[in-house]
């Protein structure tokens, strides 16, 4: 089977099991307070590296401009 065929099968398998992959038992069945904690920590861990890189870039830009 060529590469395109393999990719097609892999995509099909991925799409077939995509719903199961979403079902995180810890996050999805948590009470609202715990789910809020998961959400806030996810946001923090997502935003912090962007903020750090942005702050470093801004500092360098200020220094050299």
């Amino acid at each position: 089977m060529n590469l395109a065929g393999r990719l097609l099968i892999a995509t099909g398998i991925f799409l077939a099991f995509a719903a199961a992959a979403l079902a995180c038992p810890a996050c999805m069945s948590a009470d609202p307070k715990t789910a809020g904690t998961y959400l806030s920590m996810t946001l923090m861990m997502s935003a912090l590296p962007l903020g750090l890189i942005g702050a470093l870039a801004y500092w360098l830009w200020r220094h050299y401009s």
């Binding site: 920590m41 750090l52 470093l56």
Partner: protein, 193 residues
């Protein structure tokens, strides 16, 4: 011995020194490391059995004594900043400020050690509960950073007195110390309160 100024500088003062940039990148990585620990701790706290944290039977953390310790570490950061600001005008006052900053940092880590010994006697260990595990991991990691910062700061301070360390290297160590100082209130808020 008087602090003789100006301190030796790198050839190009306009550019960001490699030492400061390296420490900035290192601090960014360290911030992510501590963010991951705080995130894990926050989730463990939120999902604790029965919503009780610390777990029953575990000793409570010394909030009031650590608040005093927090004040000592913050004062250390303020003194270092002030000492650096005074350097061009008054080398004696600057020296005193930096010396006190180092001493307060050492006092912080010593008092933390005393508190740890007391908590260990009361039964809070790495394996006694997730509370103990997170406490020693997060606060221990910070304490290691404080010790590393103190060693670097003392080295840089003596180096500036002997004119063997450049301003840039001293700035890099100061930068790291400010990170250690400013990180602590966040850890205190998340772990102790």
């Amino acid at each position: 011995m008087d602090l003789v100024l100006p301190l030796p500088t790198a050839p190009e003062t306009r550019r960001v020194s490699n030492a400061v940039l390296g420490v900035a990148i290192f601090i960014a990585a360290e911030a992510m490391f501590f963010a991951a620990l705080i995130s894990a701790h926050t989730i463990a706290k939120a999902t604790a059995f029965g919503g009780v944290w610390p777990p029953p039977g575990q000793p409570r953390l010394p909030v009031a004594r650590t608040a005093i310790n927090t004040a000592a570490l913050l004062s250390s950061g303020v003194l270092l900043w002030t000492g650096n600001r005074w350097m061009p005008r008054s080398s004696d006052a600057a020296k005193r400020c930096i010396m006190w900053a180092i001493l307060l940092g050492a006092a912080f880590v010593s008092l933390q050690g005393v508190e740890w010994a007391r908590l260990l006697r009361e039964g809070l260990t790495m394996t006694s509960s997730s509370h103990g595990g997170f406490f020693y991991l997060i606060i221990g990691a910070h304490a290691l950073h404080v010790v590393a910062g103190l060693v670097a700061l003392t080295w840089a301070y003596w180096g500036t007195l002997r004119r063997t360390v450049t301003q840039e290297a001293f700035a890099a160590t100061r930068f790291f110390w400010y990170f250690v100082v400013l990180l602590w209130p966040v850890l205190y808020w998340r772990v102790y309160l």
